[in-house]
Each structure stands twice: as structure tokens, then as C-alpha cells.
Symmetry: C2
Subunit: 346 residues, 2 copies
């Protein structure tokens, strides 16, 4: 008789830049948390989260690093990274599956352990990183969007990130502000959002962590506290408040988006998103239904004037159908099953 | 009957920042090369050097990275590092001993392989790195000086670095210049050497790679091409020419030296060294015999005036007795024997 998959010993390997789940920013840690909690909610009985020691989970937590290296700067990130990964790998034999959400370094250990390892590729931070992934063509991979795939890698599936709806309250009534939130980095196009706000002459609220200080300083010249206001990073509760005030979210990314948690989170509140038509945005946003896909600032300004055409309930429904934790975990369950099937055939 | 230790399959793991041996700078690669070539010269028949693919050795060379990441900037150093180490670890079973000269990351793989791993700690680049070393208290460690030891680690021995004398020609006649060579970084005290040259009113030739650009720019204000002249990095042949012109070498390191290849190389040519009395300098230089150990700039200036008291032949003899490749390899042989003895008892 087949073992109930919910008895399998699953280890979820989270990054340790931030707590899991993060206090505010920390995209990969957020997803690792959602997978872990989603598996527990689905009735999985042997789930272990490998994360910082201050992490919070209903699964078993195992960690060796007190706090994330972005939150406690006394540690060298690479030292903590190797330490954390090494310790996980040394106890790999106690698990039926290691689900790696910690980028490419765990792959280096993959052939030295017997436990199968699934790697969700949350994004290629550089072309050069593909060297390691491609060396592991026999590994199990999941992509987080169809667009963020390397054509030379085998994938078991695309599994869209699922988001926790508990701090994303649906708001039928639109707010009056344009909103930008996320990492403040040229990739995320805050400078373009500022341009849109000025051209549309509508107030813009900016939230997020500063990842590129020089770029931030450049953008900050426009923060007058009236038309354009910066409020710093937001935690999930503050984000909920922020989105309540949003007429729309501007997400004018300048490089292909890998998934775009911001897109789904905004839609979950009923907020349409004006997004650059690059990468996965087309997979998360339904053009003219849950937002607008645009190619430049002028198209974005035009979209702002067309926001009345968006049905906010449709935005919420779209997320509930496609981007919940339950849906993500159900998709991962299929991937896990496929892995166990293949492993048995070995 | 015991197997001849020279038939043991020894893998020397070199770093991949530079070629092994390096074209000019590359301290750890230099030592890894000297160990490898020294073992071959001693009659070891199964030595493998793991290094960049453009490396040169009389042993078997295995590599996966074309050029060092400091010489080919198209690669991400961490990606090449993980790739190189991973590949070595995956073939560890083909070796009787892995001799790690590549810092702390290989230790992360140590408990996943069956082959014993000896790690020569070429220096702790940060206190935080000791976390990983201390997690491997059951590992085999060698220190490169008695002073560069962490009191919480077990060591099998101190093995001083051995240097290749073939490009270090003994010069009975002193040159007329003060010489500084090595990494240009505050740790190495170029600013103090400049002060000494000015106070002694004696010409100083400066050679080396620029590791700290801001610090270099600061020092460069004093490079007038007359009293103080900068000539850039030197390869071993150029270093030999440089030392031929040296009255003494100034090595006024501002942090404890870990070993100090420069000290032994200079002495090998017959050149006395005026060194800061910090860390291992006291182990490499014999005060008032092969140079002077000083505590500040004034003592260094005084030492310059006393250089006539140093017997240059004694400098050479001191190196020939203590810091040759043969002596180093003979010491490592004892360490290897001890490791094989302990492994057999397991």
C-alpha cells in the first residue's frame, strides 16, 4: 500500500537573509513560509522548516543562525549561508525530500546526499549563476513563472507563488493614491512611477526597503511629502493599510519580472496594477481585467485615466482562483508525487 | 606491509582567484603550488592539483574554471568557487586525502565525504569565519605560524610556508633602495614605509597589486618618481630584479602577520627586513640577525641606520634552513602520516 504522502518527511530550506516569515521585506522567505504553513494546513505531519532561529512556523523549526544576516550585520552573510546549508545537508538522511528555496549553493551538495532535492528557482540573479544549475541537469526544478525559465534546464512544473490572504483585506472602494512598494532598486522602476505621478498630477506613496542607496538618493529628490511621499518599509499590516489607500499600484519594472508578489498582493486587496509588460507580469495580471500592461510612461499615464474600467471584485477573484497558498501547495504536492514516483523507479 | 606513502592519492585543493602558480600576486595559490610541486619532487606518484584550468604543474591537473576570477572578471567569484569545490568533493572518493588550501567553504562538505580532509588555515579573514572552523573541531588543521592560531581549534602542527628559491638569487652586495612589496592595503602598512623613507631621506620602490583603491590613491600622492616610485605588480623574475636593488625591505604591517611570504623571500635574496613586531614576523625574522622587529616608525628609521650590522649570508642561510619547499613538504609528510595513522584506527 502506498504511504500517505502527508507522512513524508519534507524539509523546506528557506534562505536566511531575513526571518521566515519576514517582518517586512523578504520575498523568498515569504514564499518558503507559505509553502511550509500551507503543507501543515493541508495535513502534512512531518514538515520541517530550515530557517533562522527566530522564525515562526507551525511545522518543526530547525535553525542554527539566530537572526537573518540582513537584520544582524555582525555576521558575514557567506559564513552564515554555508553554515546553514551545511547543517541541513548533514541531516539530509532524515528526510524524504529537501525542498530548496535557497538559490544555487545547496545544489553543490546535491550529489553528496541521497535524499532527493527539489529546487524552486526564485530567479536567476545573474546569467553566470546558470552554470551551476546547468551542471545539475538531472536535478528537480520548479520555475515560478513560465517566462522565468532557462531553456537549457528541465523543469517539472511552473508553480506560481501563493500569497497569504489573511493580511490582504478586500476593499471595494478605491483609495485616492498611486502606490509604489517593493525593493527600491532600478529594476523595480520607481523613477518611472515618479514620472507617471508627475504627468498625471496624482499623489504617489512610496514604500519599501532601500536596496540601492545611490538610486534611492536620486529618487528622493522628488519626495516632497505632498505629491510624492516616502514611508519606508512596511510590514504586512502596514501594507494592508497602504493598499487601502491605493487607487492603483504602479509596478513599472525595467527588467523581466520573475513572478511579482506585489502584483498578486495588490490584486488581492482589489487594487488594479499598472505593470510593465515584461517577464511574468503578463502571467499574473490579466490586461484590462486586473490592471494594465504597459510599455512606457505615457501608456501608464493613459492607464491611470482608465482605472475606472477595472472591476475590483474581479481582481480579488483572480487571486483567489490562481494565487492562493492552497493552490500553490496543491501544485507542489503534484510535483512531490512525481519526484517520489521517479525516485522509486531508480 | 605498509603502503609507501608516496603512492597515496593526494588531492591538493588550491583557490581559484588566480592561476596556480600565480603570474604575480596570489599567496595561497603560490603555497598550494609549492606543496604540489614539492610532493612530486619528493617522489609522490599520485598527486592531483585542483586549480584553474590554465594552471601549471608536474602533478595531474584537474580544473573546471578556465581562469582565476581575479583575472577573468566575467565570472561571479562565488559561482566559480562553489562549482570548483563541488566538483572536487564529488570525486573525493578517488583520493586518500584532500588537502584543502581553499579556506572555509570546503569544510561545509567535509562530513558528506569519506575521504579525510586536511585544511591549512592560511589566515582568518574575519573573526566570524571561525564559526565554521569551530564547528569542525574533529577536522584536521594546520596553522602556518604559531601566532596565527585560534585557541579553540585543534591543530596537528604548524607548518611554515616554503618558498621556491629558484627565482630568488642570493645577492651578497646590498642595493641602495628601500623596498616595499605586497598587497597595497592598509594591513600591509605602505603608508608607514613612506613615512620611513621620508624621515630617512632614502629612496623607496613600491611594488604590488592594488587591493584597496582609496588607500592606494592616498599613498600615491607621495609617489614623485624620485624619492618614492611605484612600479606596479611584479612577477617572480621582476621580484628578483627588484630585490637585487634593495638595501632592505620594509614590512610595517598594521595587523598581526599570519606568515609573511615577503619576509622569507627577501631574506632568501640576502635582503634584511624591517618588520612590525606583530603576529608571525617574530617567527620568520630573527631580530638583529635577518632584520629588525620594530614597534613604530622611529624604530624603523633607526633600524635603517643599523642595516650594516646584518650579515646577508646569514639571511640566506636562515631561509635555506627553515623556509624551503623541501622542509615544508617534509613537515606535511609527517602530518599526512599522522592523519593516515588516525584514519586507520577509526
Amino acid at each position: 500500500m502506498d504511504m500517505d504522502i502527508r507522512d513524508k518527511r519534507i524539509g523546506i530550506l528557506a534562505p536566511i537573509a531575513w526571518r521566515t516569515p519576514p517582518h517586512s521585506y523578504g520575498a523568498w522567505e515569504t514564499v518558503a513560509s507559505n509553502i511550509t504553513e500551507g503543507l501543515v494546513a493541508r495535513g502534512y505531519r512531518n514538515v520541517t522548516l530550515f530557517a533562522t532561529k527566530d522564525s515562526i512556523t507551525k511545522a518543526r523549526l530547525i535553525g542554527w543562525i539566530e537572526k537573518g544576516y540582513e537584520e544582524d550585520k555582525s555576521q558575514i552573510p557567506l559564513v552564515s549561508t554555508i553554515y546553514h546549508i551545511q547543517k541541513v545537508m548533514e541531516m539530509a538522511g532524515e528526510f524524504d525530500l529537501i525542498h530548496n528555496n535557497f538559490d544555487f549553493i545547496p545544489l553543490g551538495f546535491r550529489r553528496l546526499i541521497k535524499t532527493p532535492m527539489l529546487t524552486t528557482i526564485h530567479g536567476f540573479s545573474d546569467e553566470d549563476i546558470k552554470r551551476v544549475y546547468r551542471d545539475h541537469k538531472d536535478a528537480y526544478y520548479v520555475s515560478i513563472s513560465d517566462s522565468d525559465r532557462d531553456e537549457k534546464l528541465p523543469y517539472l512544473a511552473t508553480v506560481y507563488n501563493g500569497i497569504d490572504l489573511s493580511n490582504l483585506t478586500f476593499r471595494e472602494k478605491p483609495g485616492s493614491n498611486l502606490v509604489f512598494y517593493g525593493r527600491i532598486h532600478p529594476d523595480k522602476g520607481l523613477h518611472l512611477a515618479i514620472e507617471v505621478a508627475k504627468k498625471a498630477n496624482m499623489p504617489l506613496i512610496v514604500a519599501g526597503i532601500i536596496q540601492d542607496r545611490e538610486y534611492f538618493d536620486d529618487c528622493a529628490r522628488h519626495f516632497d511629502g505632498k505629491l510624492i511621499k516616502f514611508i519606508g518599509p512596511v510590514n504586512p499590516q502596514q501594507r494592508d493599510e497602504l493598499l487601502a489607500q491605493a487607487l492603483c499600484v504602479l509596478h513599472l519594472n525595467t527588467i523581466p519580472e520573475r513572478f511579482g508578489l506585489v502584483l498578486a498582493e495588490s490584486n488581492a486587496v482589489g487594487v488594479p496594477v499598472i505593470a510593465a509588460d515584461l517577464g511574468s507580469c503578463r502571467e499574473v495580471i490579466v490586461d484590462r481585467k486586473t490592471g494594465f500592461l504597459v510599455n512606457d510612461v505615457d501608456e501608464a499615464v493613459e492607464a491611470v485615466n482608465n482605472l475606472g474600467k477595472i472591476d475590483r471584485r474581479e481582481c480579488r477573484r483572480h487571486v483567489e482562483k490562481n494565487f492562493t497558498i492552497e493552490r500553490m501547495v496543491s501544485a507542489y504536492e503534484k510535483v512531490y508525487q512525481e519526484i517520489f514516483r521517479r525516485e522509486e523507479q531508480k
